[in-house]
């Protein structure tokens, strides 16, 4: 139903020339996959979809598309969009936000682990309320959503955009489960400092410096990233664990206050580094120190570029 409304609205937006581009999702070339649809063609709007696999954060494309954009936005996208508006990277007037109240996105990797099979061997995955059914070898297996949604979806504080132009469905209330979604971080915090250091050395040894984590992030919009700087050479462009670790640490610090915990960085990492453990921890630190949640209020000033006379934080006084 949301899908039908989305297609109608998108078509109208292009036909009436209220936008130059439509950015949304369409079916991917693999099962249980979607892919971004970026188009100026009215006919292409028929391919727009809304389903449990619309993973990407489409706000990532806004800094490179010129013109007015009609953009499909789940809660996480809308927070990234608001964050970009706060940073003046995108004009609110150039956007028509088509809000999708999001019930959470299914993490295929979790399903593969639970079912013990590759996604190629699964016949179907469907969501019904609080339940996700996986059909494999002719049999159906049910899972609770808490077991198969992405961690960042389980922690979601804004499933329905508050900044939008067209609402495509019934708004959903946030029901974050910080305990379940924060298990990885809790696990890390239970380790000693030395154990954690060894663990991160291990994780970072796999990094191949593909920069997918950086490139998929809407908050990373620098035209020249610090890793590309040669004078001085902050980080060696070689995949050895100290440089890989420094890259992640600095990237986290650079996006602090802009990261909305959309979880894309962790999803896209081809070598399974638990990047969200770093980004979510930074997100929580920002909330704790500055009582600030990114992307909630488009008229708020970006956190790291302003100073309040009355700083709330003790360490600053």
């Amino acid at each position: 139903m949301m899908e039908k409304k989305l297609r109608q609205e998108a078509k109208a937006l292009l036909e009436q020339k209220r936008v130059d581009w439509i950015v949304g999702f369409e079916s991917g070339s693999l099962k249980f996959t979607t892919t971004p649809l970026i188009t100026r063609n009215v006919a292409d709007t028929e391919r727009l979809v809304i389903n449990p696999f619309i993973t990407n954060n489409l706000a990532n494309f806004l800094t490179e598309i010129e013109g007015r954009v009609g953009i499909v936005a789940k809660g996480c996208e809308s927070r990234s969009i608001v964050s970009l508006i706060q940073d003046n990277k995108v004009d609110r007037e150039d956007l028509v936000i088509l809000a999708v109240p999001c019930p959470g996105i299914i993490d295929l990797a979790k399903i593969e682990r639970l079912v013990g099979k590759d996604r190629d061997e699964l016949d179907d995955i469907t969501r019904d309320g609080d339940k996700v059914s996986v059909k494999v070898d002719g049999k159906k297996k049910d899972f609770a959503v808490a077991d198969v949604l992405f961690d960042h979806c389980l922690a979601c504080e804004l499933p329905t955009p508050t900044e939008y132009d067209i609402l495509l469905g019934e708004p959903r209330q946030p029901t974050p489960d910080l305990k379940v979604s924060g298990q990885n971080i809790a696990g890390l915090k239970a380790l000693t400092s030395a154990e954690r250091w060894t663990k991160w050395q291990d994780e970072m040894s796999r990094c191949i410096r593909c920069y997918a984590c950086r490139n998929v992030c809407p908050a990373c919009f620098c035209e020249r990233c610090f890793v590309e700087e040669t004078e001085p050479q902050w980080v060696m462009p070689m995949p050895q664990w100290p440089d890989n670790l420094i890259f992640q640490v600095i990237r986290n610090i650079h996006v602090a206050g802009r990261c909305t915990d959309c979880g894309e960085c962790e999803r896209v990492c081809p070598v399974n580094i638990p990047l969200r453990s770093l980004t979510r921890e930074m997100y929580d630190i920002v909330d704790e120190l500055f009582k600030f949640k990114s992307g909630m209020d488009k008229d708020a000033l970006p956190l790291m570029v302003h100073y309040e006379q009355e700083e709330a934080e003790e360490f600053f006084k």
């Binding site: 970026i38 590759d118 796999r206 410096r209 593909c210 590309e228 070689m238 995949p239």
Partner: protein, 344 residues
Amino acid sequence: MAKKISKKDIAQLLKTWSQQFTVLAPSRASGVAEMAEWDGKDTSFLDWYRNTTVPPKASFLPPMEEMFRFRKGEEGYQVEPPSSNGQRQLLFGIRPCDARAMAILDMTFEDAYKDPYYLEKRKNTVLVSLGCTNPCESCFCTSMGTGPTDASNVDIMLIDIGDGFLIEEVTDKGKELVTQTKGLKAAPKSDEAAAEKSRETSYNKVVRQLDTKGIKDKLLASFDDEEFWEQTAAKCISCGICTLLCPTCYCFDINDETDKGEGTRFRSWDSCGFSVYTKMPMENPRSEKWRRVRQKVCHKYEFYPMAFDVIACTGCGRCIRLCPVNWDITQVIESVPTKVKGAK
């Protein structure tokens, strides 16, 4: 008379081979599926359908590799080649798509100037392939000149016949190794028939097809079609996943690391997808994303065929599976317009 080995004897076989080779086998122990030094007991990879995430090219062109060391002494600078142990490797469980990719890479590293590091590793390695039984939906090897049980580019091929594998001895190196390996049984004719059936079944399971006929000329004719390339590149995010993890990609960067007059020159994986790849002080010919995407597609499907008569793609499917935005090379190749050159 062909030989065979049962699945439960694979561990023993690898143990035997470990006495004269460093045996590498698919493993998830590091956190990602890649070829790693066999741990002495794990053979769970025999049940895997997918190829490793990190391609076996990493064993010949590692993500990071020492080229030489330099030191400033009293007499000035000295350069020393890295010590090579000449240790022989055996790559067990390489898939035919990845083995063909090695043959494609060989063309570059052998051409004109010989690359010493890559070629030495290739010379010292035996490739033992596991034929695929369940190609994935991202696989399109049968369209790219190979197939799930193609033995053309390995020393030994193992074909799954149910409880075990039929052993195909392909090269002289492979024949020699099989001859001197104890514990391999003779395979009855029925096993050879089963292997033939297995090959056929696997071949037919490859669903994804790609017609590459005439693609070289189509791409040449579309080289200046900016609109087509902009559209094709629209959702690409210019990361390096498709290229770094592609078994036929080989771009590398060279950097020095130094500490107090002593240091090492390394080479490391690089990607034409990165925005700074072609950046020079005064200009960057490929600062625009569509030019980089065009370079990638054309290099694999047009330029490499122009130079070596082979498309630099083996249909392994990694790029399709791992791309953060599901950009699909097969869809792109299918959508290249057929034009008359010069016509707009």
